[in-house]
Amino acid sequence: MEVKDQAMNSKQKKEKSSKAERRDLQEAQRAAKAAVKAEGNKPSGSVTSVNLKSAKAAKPPQKVDNTSIAASEKKGGDRPSEKDRKKDVPHPRLQYDDKSRVEKAKRRAVVNQTEARNRVELFRHLPQYEHGSQLPDLEAKFFQIDPVHPSVYKVGLQYLSGDISGGNARCIAMLQAFQDAIKDYAVPPEKTLVRDLTAKISSYVSFLIECRPLSISMGNAIRFLKSRITKLPPTLSESESKTSLQSDIEHFINEKIILANKVIVNHAVTKIRDGDVLLTYGSSSAVEMILLHAHELGKQFRVVVVDSRPRLQGKVLLRRLVEKGLSCTYTHVNAVSYIMHEVTRVFLGASSVLSNGTVYSGVGTACVAMVAHVYHVPVIVCCEAYKFHERVQLDSICSNELGDPDVISKVPGREDVNLLDAWANTENLQLLNLMYDATPSDYVSMIVTDYGMIPPTSVPVVVREYSREQVWM
């Protein structure tokens, strides 16, 4: 209750529209936000109130992601308080088939997004927007968007256009943009650094979500950053706090991403023998590093790169490998059962590994892992530990990201097959562009992380032991 009172007080400071509306939003979000800090950050009350305030200022689409992350974290979190748990039960995630909520969200959105016309019924709970409408809109609004720092804006645009893709790259870009934002940040008078900065970060995050939904690794990084902010001792001056935060971010990037990759590479190359034929799917930064390092060590092996539409990321990886002198075979995902009989190991990257051992990765990974399993080929997943998450997921439908459907209808370079150009006008036709899928844990033989080589069943142990005790540093 005191949380709610605090929130009401802070609410009165600002002049906003109807109180009842605010209260509704607030109650909905409070329950969800409480769980975000429930794992051991004791000053949850202040944080949640700050979050509420920021949530009011921010665009409600943030609610989608934060509540979705919060809800899923809540399932794995050990000890949310009893009160929160009871209020969490009718979970108020923004479902996109709920018209009133969607209307509210649209009114406050920074970016105007038109909803896609032919929406796939099965995915009504996920946002389906018409792509291509956001970029010109954002560009036009550049000089009007005050709250968004230019580096964050730049990163958002890069996400939108697809220039930065891949879990690690997106995470690093975002954190570096936050570093810049913190450097230029000045505490307004009468506000505390902790609360205001957290609010600002949340507003940046909601902007980034509008550009492209967050990946799980980015969500973890944001959580880390917010926890560091709240842990700042109040005795520090503003500039000291800022430098401390910046060095924290630097440390996180170095230790959790860059150094972790090195450790993973060292572990994984021990699994490559001379004469191996290694298969990889799509383009993963970790796997690429492993292959190049093994080649430098002088091991003799062949690589099979399996690619799929519509992103065709395998071509990028293929180019880099061939330039470094590896002998590669290139094929597409349909042919994976043809090529699998000559493969000895499969190396896959992951966007995240969930607590039930499910590997959440680019769409098509599940197919490759399944075929490898049938042919008795070991599947090795390379994933940094900061990407682990407490959420659980059984299939790829409950939570996913939908990409631009137009890229399916257009086949670049093959004019003869562009038959679906007018697809949006055809009534019964929908195009579905899934970005992720969930690979069941029984297809995965081993996960190589910076904590060692573990079986998929050990993932919740790592999540619990190593993230609980703030061993982020």
Binding site: E323, S327, T331, D395, D437
Partner: protein, 415 residues
């Protein structure tokens, strides 16, 4: 004759250059070509069937060699050979029956005639029994090979030079060709109408509010689904696009225009979506004798995903796709690798190919077909009804003869 030769050569060239797409079109053309060959073939007075068989074999060998992966051609050749043998046998038994029934036609050659029917009748009857009747222990024990029976009858026929005999023989020869051509016409008719007969069974398998998954495009599947739609079953279809030919786009457009709720997905999303699918319905390129299928690439992955999620995997195939051969290493031997330009542009990687760093080699693999083993197939729906994969070998006896499995001209029995 020259006309037929040029036809044959044209067809062989088309097969070699892979200009003909689809087993149905290939089968129909092959059947029509063989019909022309038969009608133009001169049959001698004796051994008509053998002459026809050898002629068809000669042409068939060329056709099969032109495109060994296109199994429909071989199937049709073997079907025609089987038709010739069957017609010959049925004519022979009819002739025997006719001879026994008309004793008074020719009084002169009583003695020989008495001998002739006895000898040849026994032999022909034995032969007839062994093939036209289901095998029983008695027939197996007294089995005499057909080829022995034929020369026997013809030689004894040559002995007795009755006028009725020669008239009988030549009319019998003409009748053989006539019958064979009629049967081949029936075969062509069957090939053309296999869609309707398969589509009739659609209503038994598709109910309301089902979700169906398919990959690539097959006319059989299209007709099947539309037939169910005609009967007012409402269902949704997920079509996987089937890279690198992207025929799924074609199918999706066609289905949407006929009023079915269609969603196009990428092939990589098959595992993700299959948990919400009730049935997978696909067409096949060829059905092997063990019940396995040769299917467009990617279907093995779909079949494995369907097995994992306990989704029935239904294959639609016309009977002209049933091949009497058993597959050995079909991924390699019954497969064709297509041009890599469908995956990679030729110019795209040329710059890093000849780099000085002892450059890596780049190899592109683009197979056309996939082999799906029989244990992954739940049901075959053919124009003769629904069958288990373990039953397909039995259908072979209906359509093919054991002598025709290897279509090579036999050097010993001269033509």
């Amino acid at each position: 004759m020259p006309d037929v030769h040029s036809l044959v050569n044209d067809f062989v060239n088309q097969l070699k250059k892979r200009k003909i797409e689809g087993s149905q079109a290939t089968a129909k053309q092959a059947a029509e070509l063989l019909r022309s060959v038969i009608s133009q073939q001169r049959v001698p007075q004796t051994n008509q069937a053998t002459a026809l068989i050898n002629a068809v074999r000669a042409v068939g060998e060329k056709l099969i060699a032109a495109n060994p992966v296109e199994l429909a051609v071989g199937n049709i050749v073997r079907r025609v050979l089987h038709i010739i043998r069957e017609e010959d046998l049925s004519l022979a038994t009819a002739a025997i029956a006719g001879l026994e029934l008309s004793p008074g036609s020719d009084d002169e050659d009583d003695v020989e005639r008495d001998d002739y029917p006895v000898l040849s009748a026994a032999a022909v009857a034995a032969a007839a029994r062994s093939t036209l009747r289901p095998p029983s222990l008695q027939t197996l024990l007294e089995d005499t090979p057909i080829s022995a029976a034929n020369p026997h009858t013809s030689s004894s026929g040559g002995d007795s030079e009755g006028k009725s005999r020669s008239v009988d023989k030549s009319s019998r020869g003409r009748k053989l060709k006539h019958d064979v051509i009629e049967a081949v016409n029936e075969l062509i008719q069957d090939i053309s109408t296999c869609y309707e007969q398969i589509a009739e069974q659609a209503v038994e398998h598709i109910h309301q509010n089902e979700v169906i998954l398919t990959l690539g495009s097959s006319k059989t599947v299209l007709e099947f689904l539309c037939a169910a739609k005609e009967k007012k079953r409402s269902f949704k279809v997920f079509v996987a696009e089937g890279a690198p030919r992207y025929q799924g786009h074609l199918l999706a457009k066609e289905l949407a225009s006929r009023g079915l709720q269609t969603t196009v997905i990428t092939d990589s999303a098959v595992f993700a979506m299959i948990s919400r699918v009730n049935m997978v319905i696909v067409g096949a390129h060829a059905v092997m004798a063990n019940g396995g299928i040769i299917a467009p690439v990617g279907l093995n992955m779909v079949a494995l995903a369907a097995e994992r999620h306990a989704v029935p995997f239904v294959v639609l195939a016309g009977s002209h796709k049933l091949c009497p051969l058993y597959p050995h290493n079909p991924e390699v031997l019954l497969n064709e690798l297509r041009s890599p330009s469908e995956l990679l542009d030729f110019g795209e990687f040329s710059d890093c190919m000849d780099s000085a760093s002892g450059g890596g080699s780049l190899h592109v693999v683009n197979p056309t077909f996939d082999y799906v083993p029989p244990k992954l197939v739940s049901l075959f729906i053919t124009d003769t009804g629904g069958h288990n994969p373990s039953y397909m070998y039995r259908l072979i006896a209906d359509y093919y003869s054991a002598d025709d499995l290897v279509v090579k001209r036999r050097p010993a029995t001269g033509s």
